[in-house]
Amino acid sequence: MSENRTKLVVLICEEALENIVVSELLAAGAKGYTVCDARGRGNRGVRDARWLLSSNVRIEMLCNEPVASHILDMVETKYSANYGLVIYMVDAKVNRGGEF
């Protein structure tokens, strides 16, 4: 795998979705992921990472392009109707690109 085909997929979503979605990300071909708390504002209002339901998480994963596209489609079709989320991918320069 050449390094320029590695993609960084970023999913920002409500915390409630994390437990549901991570196993599906792995099943879709991601080899791992990183999660951190996030806050900000979107079309569903301010999510200020306060206690109770209003917190967001940011899930990132490096994967090859077919897997990245598959994850984007899967998350959009399955979850975007009912959960507040943003998902996108960008090119990533990775030295050990073959690992992802």
Binding site: R50, W51, S55, Y79
Partner: protein, 316 residues
């Protein structure tokens, strides 16, 4: 002053929130306080359970759980028909109202303690058994027995959630160690309970104030619903408590439990099981209307209802 001073802290938090003060409890502190409250309630129940036999409890628990199904089954058609809410929203709100609020229970217990009224120690066992049946009823109302429901994940969230784990665990610890636990732990979990409860209520006040915007979206019907349904459920609780022969304090707490709406366990479970439902509606009405109503007006009102019932009907 008839209001409990811990309620004063709730009002303070509410004002601070409405004034957009920078006061807020961090997530870590809120989590710590809720762990403390759950253990405190469970431990107290467990220590008193050491004096009861399991056989004594089976009937009251069975009856209380069975009757708790009444609240969501009553709420759902009202929300659908008069509130014109979509099926998932109505089911989710019904589940919130069928489930119970630990903090409302704690304020009720504190109210009784202040008035010097005793209640059955096993009331906190009810908390454990009243929390989750309504959540399952809510999911069934929304979807029936559907294969797309993530039952396994839902069971994990509800049964292994910290509320059930800590309540059951502390009940067991209190029950096993009984009097010994009583002497060594009550300084921390008993005497300081009100202080920690006041801190938690301060945070709840700020949080409730942040739900005011949701109320505007929810509209007058839901606001009225959030006040009338708890009173009706409490009346049911009063009758059931009286029929079961509970003490005046025990019946008051049962009425408080039936009147309370969940705002921690239910929102998390409903987000997984009924993702189509709008969480702003259910949380807005349970936290924005019913919780403050119960804490400020409901608990003294239910206590009066119980006194009135026992005076007219006599002890069963």
């Amino acid at each position: 002053m008839s209001l409990d001073p811990v309620v004063g802290f709730f009002i303070l938090g509410l004002f601070a929130g409405l004034l957009r003060s920078d006061l807020k409890l961090s997530g870590g502190l809120s989590d710590t306080l809720s762990i403390y409250l759950l253990i405190g309630i469970g431990l107290k129940g467990g220590i008193e359970l050491a004096n009861a036999t399991v056989g004594q409890l089976l009937l009251p628990i069975g009856v209380a759980v069975l009757m708790s199904a009444g609240t969501p089954l009553l709420a759902f058609p009202i929300l659908r028909r008069f509130g014109r809410l979509a099926r998932p929203d109505a089911a989710s709100i019904a589940a919130h109202y069928g489930s119970v609020s630990v903090v409302t229970f704690a304020v009720g217990a504190s109210y009784l303690a202040r008035a010097g009224i005793d209640y059955e120690g096993y009331m906190s066992v009810f908390l454990v058994f009243l929390e989750f049946p309504a959540l399952i009823i809510g999911v069934l109302l929304a979807k029936g027995i559907s294969r797309e429901t993530q039952w396994r994940l839902l069971a994990q969230e509800v049964l292994a959630g910290k509320a059930i784990v800590l309540l059951v665990g502390a009940l067991l610890i209190g029950w096993v160690w009984g009097a010994e636990g009583n002497s060594s732990l009550t300084k921390f979990y008993g005497d300081m309970f009100k202080g920690f409860l006041s801190l938690f209520l301060l945070g709840m006040g700020v949080l409730t104030a942040s739900r005011v915007d949701d109320l505007r979206r929810a509209g007058p019907f839901l606001v009225g619903f959030g006040i009338v349904l708890p009173v009706v459920s409490a009346a049911g609780g009063v009758l059931i408590g009286w029929l079961m022969g509970l003490s005046l304090g025990g019946t008051t707490l049962l009425a408080v439990l039936y009147a309370s709406a969940s705002y921690i366990a239910a929102p998390a479970a409903m987000r997984i099981a009924i993702p189509e439902a709008n969480p702003a509606l259910s949380l807005g009405v349970s936290l924005g209307v019913t919780f403050p109503f119960n804490v400020l007006v409901g608990i003294p009102l239910y206590h009066e209802m119980v006194k009135w019932t026992y005076r007219i009907l006599g002890n069963s």
